[in-house]
Symmetry: C2
Subunit: 233 residues, 2 copies
DNA sequence: TCAAAAGTGTTTACCATACACCCATGT
DNA sequence: ACATGGGTGTATGGTAAACACTTTTGA
């Protein structure tokens, strides 16, 4: 920077990237990944995973790196929500954060903490603890974005394993939208797009009738998009 | 900042706010406001109006201020599009910009330049000159956002005077969506919401049959929203 | 009388919605 | 046998889309 003849002389804010990471759990609805802060300010409080962007690092890359460092997760999807920059949002001074929406499959084993994070844990998205900074606001916006996006793009699949049942998929939609859906109508709508292919294997979910497994057919989805048909579910 | 015990020591990027300002013109489709840069880098090239965010200034406020300084415009609407931060997007070094979508009524008199802007001018959104930085990308995203938003919220009205004809409103939608619409269907759909009220005066658009003028009924729209009915046009 | 835009209804096809019962399995 | 979730079809109402002519004015 200092070698560059055009280097700006203006005062500069600090820049962070934060991730709003959602997953779903069977019968427990939408889950949110939080970390307990290991440093000041807000030490010991719950907050979104995230941290400072390096000077030669893309915003997405920074969000991914921080998430990996603090929680070990690699999201299937990471989309920008927006920039949050109220002058008083950080007690240390001017800090702008770029928020990202991340969707992951929730693993069975508990999450571990990492750099700058004493602890990481999943919370039901409707029962969150008090949060550091303006993170409650970022989460609200992330949920709104998820609600909108899941109806127009097949991003719900990022929350499931490669092979899944229609009931699981329906649960994901119900968790994301926060409303129950009609089983028959849901199946009709989603199958009409022809982007799910039946897997010949079946599977036992325990002690009920085994359910048909499906996988997402990415090629078929691309074909739909090219035809300009918009997936709306 | 420096008085604050928690002040960050990380290297910091510079922070700017840029505005993608759209208007519509009769029979000319969607128009975009650009300025010709008065300083390096990209001196003399066309670019979005915008500039540095002050350290105690909200992002929206910064965008508004810069727009006012460079072009004299006060948009009816200013919404954040997102943050753009590729490390190589500015030859001077690391500069993050927050992009905003602004909608204005295009005045009859030509626009003036201002601080840091030799010149300001309207361009048809489909025939833009070469642009500085990654501004072509911001504009593409802004158009996508406009297309989506105009179908769910009555923001098209921000592009029109208080009293307008249904034909004018239809032109706005056609310009924003980039597609022709059926006149009868458009009128039916938009009038069904009961958010436009007829003004008793009429008006002569020149030398054809005079058209009915309408005004937006903000109270009626608020009522709709409370009922949870979503405006979709 | 002509040009130019304003204004107006009906038909059709599709899709969202609502709704209830039988099936396959494990215990 | 029964409990549990898996799986299926139909009827109805509403709305998006397609479509063409008459009206009013100024020139």
């Amino acid at each position: 920077m200092s070698a560059n003849p055009y280097c700006y002389k203006y005062p500069r804010p600090a820049l962070t990237a934060d991730c709003v990471v959602f997953a779903t759990a069977e019968d427990e609805g939408l889950q949110l990944l939080l970390i307990r802060r290991g440093g000041e300010p807000f030490r010991g409080q719950w907050a979104l995973p995230g941290g400072f962007v390096n000077m030669d690092e893309d915003l997405h890359a920074a969000a991914l790196r921080e998430l990996e460092e603090e929680t070990g997760f690699h999201p299937a999807r990471l989309e920008q929500i927006g920039a949050y920059g109220r002058p008083d949002r950080d007690p240390r001074g001017r800090v702008i954060t770029i928020a990202f929406l991340a969707l992951v499959r929730r693993p069975d084993d508990p999450v571990r903490g990492g750099t700058d994070a004493e602890e990481a844990a999943w919370f039901p998205a409707d029962q969150l603890p008090p949060l550091a900074f303006d993170h409650a606001l970022l989460i609200e916006d992330a949920r709104a974005m998820l609600r909108q996006r899941i109806r127009r793009e097949p991003i719900g699949l990022d929350l499931l394993p490669q092979a899944f049942t229609l009931s699981q998929l329906q649960s994901v939609y119900e968790a994301a939208l926060g409303a129950p859906l009609d089983k028959r109508n849901f199946r009709k709508k989603i199958l009409r797009f022809d982007v799910l292919k039946e897997l010949t294997g079946r599977r036992q979910t325990g002690h009920q009738r085994p359910a048909q497994l499906y996988a997402f057919d990415r090629a078929a989805y691309k074909r739909l998009q090219k035809q300009g048909i918009d997936f709306e579910c």
